[in-house]
């Protein structure tokens, strides 16, 4: 057990000062803005919770919230099972698998504004490899004006970008399983699914929690990539929460933008809270299981 010593706060001073400057002060500023009507920054007047009321009752907010939730669900629904499956496969592939692990990590280091540039040139029907192939096959791929094509492009691009994160973490968890577990399961005649459910899944749950959390918040608030692909179109079909917020800031509607920002912040923090509680419960039940 670690000793209790409140002087440890002294060691936190540099970190606290930094976080106060770049995190806490801006957050309090947003909170303050969100209760004001602001045209110029030197002339603000108090409006109370008016912005919040208009957001909560706005159909446009409900629609973009639904789109963001759907996008997160699609991203997680595709990337999580696919990432685990790839990790299981790479684990069996030995040395080649370790090299492939480095390859799937490559998209993680591509700057975010380059990713849509790369994908748009890939699906360009005149010069892109995939675009030319689809044209040759007679597929009329039109991400500009067909809503579900825009969605498909976004989900595939996001999967390309983030699959590596799921794979790396699942791989790390899986590679720590002692071979004796699998041998024992084989003797007991366990099916492939049973081995996954009772041996492999528990080993990667901890890593999967952080993957789900990071993937949820990043896909829920997708901005750079979605904006570059179709700027929220066609016809608002991919206007996610953050794109709507970007519009507000560009329109100099700071009070309303701040209230939107606070609402998103609260949604994200609520999700984090749920995750932390779930992680704690899992840890506690694991400890009880060992005792």
């Amino acid at each position: 057990m670690k000793p209790q010593d409140n002087r440890a706060w002294l060691l936190l001073l540099p970190a606290s000062a930094l976080m106060a400057f770049v995190g806490l002060v801006p957050l309090v500023t947003v909170l303050n803005f969100s209760f004001h009507d602001i045209f110029m920054l030197d002339s603000m007047h108090w409006v109370g919770a008016e912005w919040y009321e208009s957001i909560i009752t706005s159909p446009a907010f409900h629609a973009s919230l639904a789109r963001s939730l759907l996008f997160s669900a699609l991203a997680l629904g595709v990337q999580l099972p696919l990432g685990i499956a790839v990790a299981l496969m790479l684990l069996r592939a030995g040395r080649l698998g370790r090299l492939m692990l480095l390859l799937v990590a490559v998209p993680l280091v591509v700057p975010w504004n380059m990713i849509p540039i790369m994908w748009l040139s890939l699906v360009n029907p005149d010069t892109g490899l995939a675009g030319q192939a689809m044209r040759a096959l007679g597929i009329a791929f039109d991400y500009k004006f067909t809503a579900w094509h825009t969605w498909a492009l976004l989900v595939v691009m996001d999967t390309w970008h983030w699959l590596g994160l799921v794979v790396i973490l699942a791989y790390a968890g899986l590679s720590g399983i002692p071979p004796a577990y699998h041998q024992a399961a084989a003797i007991d005649g366990a099916s492939r699914w049973q081995r996954f459910r009772f041996i492999e899944l528990p080993r990667i749950m901890g890593a999967l929690f952080i993957v789900i959390l990071l993937r949820f918040v990043d896909s829920f608030m997708i901005y750079t990539e979605a904006f570059a692909i179709n700027a929220g179109g066609p016809n608002g079909a991919t206007t996610f929460l953050s794109l709507a917020l970007g519009e507000e800031i560009k329109g100099f509607s700071y009070g309303s933008a701040a209230a939107h920002a606070m609402v998103y912040f609260l949604i994200v923090v609520a999700v984090v809270r749920v995750f932390v509680t779930a992680t704690d419960q899992r840890k506690r039940s694991a400890e009880r299981g060992m005792a």
């Binding site: 670690k2 930094l18 995939a130 790390a172 998103y264 912040f265």
Partner: protein
Amino acid sequence: MIRRIPTALALVALAGFILLPLAQTILLSFTATLPHDGVTEGEISLINYRNIFASPALVDSLRNSLVYVLLNVALCLIAGLPAAYAFARYRFVGDRHFLFLMLAFRVTPPVVLSLPIFILFAQFGLVNSPVGIALVHCLFNLPIAIWILESFIAAVPREFDETAFLDGHSLPGFFLRHLIPAIAPGIGVAAFFCFVFSWVEVVFARILTVTDGKPITMAINALFTFQTDFGLVMAMTIFSLLPGLAMIWFVRNHIARGFVIRT
């Protein structure tokens, strides 16, 4: 043995999926996409790479990117190491709340804080300089540095500290001479993740560089005009990938240690 063939096919499909956009980018980076002196459009050439070094704005952007990222990594390690030590070795009032706050800031979407950050940084003269970007990226990198370093410090037995203190080492002396060498791989992993997350971020980098101090990402955005030289864009994209690729190679054996969630 029968299972080998589907696995091989799946591996090839996966490699193809990951490599396809990269192949497209490399291909275009070696293609002249606009007519230049002595090179016709569509020709395979090194013209795009030569044009990068002919443009002072692009060369500056390479320097700006490296300066702000290295500064950010240094800040995160210097502020993160004592904090990580505190969490690894002691319990104290509010420790769990502090960690929750760190997690909340780590996942706060940059677009939420972009406006007040701009106003705040403008008052301190931190706009248009790599220092501003280095500071603001601590918002999501410092929590990561603390988590990673904490998990590596916690793996070092407590007796290690006590022996050093009995030998008469002060806390800073212990950090420099004993702790840092003992957790060198952890420092490397923390530096890797800070480097990568800072290198790829664009929302803060955009709002904090209005006229000057633009990193690679923003220099590429500035290349988009009514007649964009896509070959040049792709050549710059390839350049922007190289440091990240080098980092992946350096930390390949430790890469998964970074994501042990601490609350």
